[in-house]
């Protein structure tokens, strides 16, 4: 007898005098889409996180600072050149008069050794530095989450292969490997992003793997599986949000590290090529004049310090904001 049909069963039961099976839950239905009294059903994890983040003043200041830098960097073409002049190329006829100027109304941060406006270079440098910082970190985090997640979730042979792979990557001297990659791919923006990203995923994979290992033992993961969730759903919806906190902190902090790596590689002539400015390059170029014109390294240095600090503070704020157990 097919058991899928309640009507058939009940008919059969009626014949034999048994009580009918009631097999449908009756819901007093609320009209679709109507928001229950006092309710906002659409609010998500991220919506809640944002609400909590707004209460953390320090993180908000950091976010504001980063937003301003980003807007300046993106829109620089519109205003920097007309306002501060050419920031890339040297006018050899006037360079002796315009170099090493002190800050003035015309040049807010003064000029550098080639007579180029320092502010314009810091603003344009933000483009390269932030783009590489965010780009390489995104690549590293994506690779790290994917490989660390697979490794921790499936365990066994998958885990073994991936973890040995990270060991190999970690065993290479960082700079040497980066130089190797860069010389294969040739200098340039994307090579930098790829080289730094590929070298950065190992730590993230390890951190994420260990968080997944502890999170997947929770009963709610078993409950999700018993509920019929797919592996992808379990990993993405149930494990990831619970294992994210250390990754968020680590990756925001690593943006600063990436900006410094970029400086090192550019210094070795493998990264951004002159005359394009990046904060790392500007630091390196200012070395010669460190004692005579310290402002040349103070400005890009300040930019790096403030930006890295902002990322760290934001990361810290995000970590707290994403923890639902922090009191509202």
């Amino acid at each position: 007898m097919p058991l899928d049909d309640d009507a058939a069963i009940n008919a059969a039961r009626e014949k034999s005098g048994e009580p009918a099976v009631r097999h449908k839950l009756e819901f007093p239905t609320t009209p679709l889409g109507e928001v229950p009294a006092g309710g906002m059903p659409t609010r998500t994890l991220w919506g809640d996180a944002w609400r909590r983040l707004r209460r953390n003043k320090l993180a908000l200041v950091a976010l504001g600072y980063l937003a301003i830098i980003l807007v300046f960097a993106v829109t620089a073409d519109l205003w920097a050149k007309p306002l501060f002049g050419e920031f890339m190329y040297v006018d050899s006829t006037t360079v002796m008069q315009t170099r090493f100027q002190a800050p003035s109304a015309m040049h807010w941060m003064g000029t550098d050794d080639f007579g180029r406006d320092e502010l314009a270079r810091v603003v344009y440098g933000a483009r390269i530095s932030l783009a590489i910082g965010i780009g390489a970190t995104t690549l590293a985090v994506t690779l790290g989450l994917l490989l660390g997640g697979l490794s921790g979730y499936y365990g066994g042979r998958v885990d073994g292969v991936i973890m040995r792979m990270t060991d190999v990557f970690l065993a290479f001297p960082y700079l040497l490997f980066a130089i190797l990659l860069m010389s294969v791919m040739g200098p340039g923006f994307w090579s930098l992003v790829i080289a730094i990203g590929i070298l950065g995923w190992t730590t993230i994979a390890r951190v994420f793997r260990s968080s997944v290992l502890s999170v997947k033992e929770n009963e709610y993961v078993d409950a999700a599986r018993a509920m019929g969730a797919s592996d992808l759903r379990i990993l993405g919806r149930h494990i990831l949000p619970n294992a994210m906190a250390p990754i968020i902190v680590y990756s925001t902090m690593s943006v600063g590290g990436v900006i410094l790596s970029e400086a090192a590689l550019s210094f070795l002539g493998l990264g951004i090529q002159p005359p394009t400015p990046s904060w790392g390059r500007m630091l390196d170029e200012s070395q010669t004049y460190m004692t005579t014109h310290p402002s040349l390294f103070i400005w890009p240095g300040l930019a790096i310090v403030l930006t890295v600090l902002a990322f760290v503070l934001l990361g810290d704020g995000l970590r707290d904001a994403l923890d639902v157990k922090m009191k509202d």
């Binding site: 069963i9 009631r22 309710g39 994890l45 709610y220 409950a223 969730a229 759903r233």
Partner: protein, 340 residues
Amino acid sequence: MAGDALLKVDDLKMYFHTRDGVVKAVDGVSYELERGGTLGIVGESGSGKSVHALTMMRLVPMPPGRIEGGDVLFKGRSLIAMSDEEIRHVRGNEIAMIFQDPMTSLNPVYRVGRQIAEPLMVHKGASRAEAWDRAVELLRLVGIPNPETRVRDYPHQFSGGMRQRAMIAMALACDPDIVIADEPTTALDVTIQAQIVELMLELQERTGSAIIMITHDLGVVADVADRVLVMYAGKAVEYGTVDEVYYRPLHPYTWGLLDSIPIHGVSEKSELCPIKGQPPSLIFLPSGCPFHPRCPHAQEICRTTVPTLRVIEGSHSSACHFSGDAGFTREGVACEVSPS
């Protein structure tokens, strides 16, 4: 009619292959569950009662686990032979599970409503708003006050009892045919335990779901079940209706279990009568009947021959060589209280 059973478990065997040897966690369990019926599975820790449920749902990691034999037929379909895709559609949709510890069974980062709504979105293709509305109604159904507002709470804002209610709501979301409750009351206060058992019975009345109640609490089983399966060392040792198992138990292990219950109101001087010894290692099972080292009635045959579960009378079966023999009764043994 044989095909009438909603769930038919036939000689199910789940072994774990570990470095120390083969752990026979479930070693030949058979029973049938009817639509709307309630089966209680009792046994000590490590008797294989939880693993057997996880095996049916194919939730045991394999390896190290391996199904060594037997089959589970659900509505005539084999749960064991199903593809991963098919079994996933059964889980939570047709067979739902309630876990032991409500404190950790809900994901802390999601609102309660979102989690109750999840099975509806996974299996029934419900939209977010539809599923959310259902979640409110389900919470109302399981007796959470102000479900419209509580549905937006996070799990840590719920008490233990409320969380178990929420878990029940989640299990019922897709209106499953079977709800497997794996020690649903163990982690709760005694007063809450009674409420949860009450609630499950009431909901069974309304939904017609069958329940498999896994517990080591004989009182809970007596309250809810119509049939009882007693497990020991991965094997079914006694199977019958609740009245049969409680009032006319056949197996010495069941006698021991019933004698171990403290009786309320009896003289405070009266000692408890526990079963002596420890459950056996599932790797090195004793020869013959697995219970014989602890059994006060053990004879030579118990050491040499493995008893099979056989019908003694009507629907009541037992896996003891002597069950059904005249004079082999529970009253025949006095509790030997060791001087302490």
